[in-house]
Amino acid sequence: MIPQNMGSETNIKLPFSFILFSIIAIVGSQIILLFQGEALLNGSFRIPAIWSAAHLFILGWALMIAMGAMYQLVPVAFLTPIWNEKLGFIQFTVTAVGIVWFAITLYAAPQSALIPGIVMLLGILMFLLQMWMTLRKQAKPNILTLFVGTALICLFLTILIGITMVVSMRTGFAKDHYSFLFHSHLLLGTAGWFTLLIFGFSYKMAPMFSLAHGFAMKLAGYVYSFYMSGLVFMVGSFALDQPLLLKGGLLFLLIGFSLFAYHVYTIIQKRIKKKLDRPFGFALLAIIFGEVIHLLAFLAALSNHFTSFIGPLMVAYLMLWIAFSIIGYLYKIVPFLWWTHKYSKVIGKKEVPSLKDMMNEKIALPLFIAFTIGVLAVSIGLVLKISILFYIGQSIVTLAAVIFGAVIMSVMKK
């Protein structure tokens, strides 16, 4: 038995602040990408405008959503209230200002990105402190703590390496290791931070949304071990420039991801809820996309074509695995937040809507199809250098981002 009131509910203004900011960021980033088609088609991924769009998308959208969602999910998954909500609001303001300033500076004057980068870093460090203090209060740490804790460490390393890169650009410090820093930054920011975070929370949310019971968690340990080994091998390959280590790393990542996909499948098999909600189905579909992308990355390395495919594969990884998972789960989290805000006090007193009634589910299918088609068109357009395909794809993704934002905002009218 546990105490009656765990005080586990977070003030919804906190996660909502992050979510609303992120909607503006995703639309902004997609518009910038749309206008940078020529550079992307020429394979010029490392130009200021692309850096700006990439950071606005990854930091302004995905990271801000992940942080907002964690303010709501950590108390749920770890039965521990957020350490300091006031710090949460301060952290939001500092990070939001830092990200916008950083994105603008990257676009206009990348060599001056150090100070906005530090402001952003400060915001993220405040978040890491918040999570560290919250997680250490958890009574019984479990495998989810390991996934989420490691993801947070990866986030810290990603930011640290990012700042080192900015210093390197300004001062020439560690310029001989720039390639190592750049690749490690990308790997730890995507496969380290986001993937481990999605793995961790999926283990809580997949059974919760499917009402699964009586499943084993043993596989999660193997998922963690293989995926972590993959990350370590990959970083090693960047440091030593060893193709064999790269192949080994990608193989371990593939095995880890495959085990995760299989594990989620076994959990879903144990579900009581016969019909799964569509948005949750899309979060599951993201796992299939992630599996295919890991497989393609490994095959590309095996056939020594990794360098030519890594750009489009990264786009697909970000959009079809990370973004799809986030959007799928967001479709569940946002209605819950608003419902709690508006109806938790009147449950039992009068008729209240179900969570399903809070968000337009009918639009979910066309929206996800549009995202998929758009991202595939962008990726294929980039690989085959077909500009019309890229522009059509990117326009679809931009439009879908706008509609997605409108759908999220519409919840607040319910």
């Binding site: 009656q4 509910e9 019971h213 109806y343 809507p353 399903k356």
Partner: protein, 105 residues
């Protein structure tokens, strides 16, 4: 209150609790099998032992306060003591026929 009246009141409480829905599953707490026990401590004081489908259910506070309100507003009851427990853990076997039907089983 004699035994027969007590049993009738407990059943009335159970029926009243069917107004509290889990908004995620859209099934009431009784058919979902969340209510473990309803008893009367005294004539006008009820005690409810209940659980949730998973520890850390995000709807924890909402559902518990809904249960409390639903019983406290009954004219036969002045006070209710709601105990939330995780042992024994909820299992799908606790759902009623109506609950299983609502979930598509």
């Amino acid at each position: 209150m004699n035994l027969q009246e007590q049993v009738a009141l407990i059943e009335k409480i159970r029926t009243n609790l069917k107004r509290v829905y889990d908004p995620e599953l859209n099934i009431n707490v009784v058919d979902l099998g969340l209510i473990y026990d309803i008893s009367l401590l005294e004539d006008r004081i009820a005690a409810i032992t209940m659980t949730l489908t998973t520890p850390g259910c995000p709807l924890h506070d909402s559902i518990v306060s809904g249960v409390r309100y639903c019983v406290e507003e009954m004219e036969e009851i002045d006070e209710v003591d709601v105990q939330l427990v995780w042992e024994p853990a909820w299992t799908p076997e606790r759902m009623t026929e109506d609950g299983l039907r609502a979930i598509g089983r």
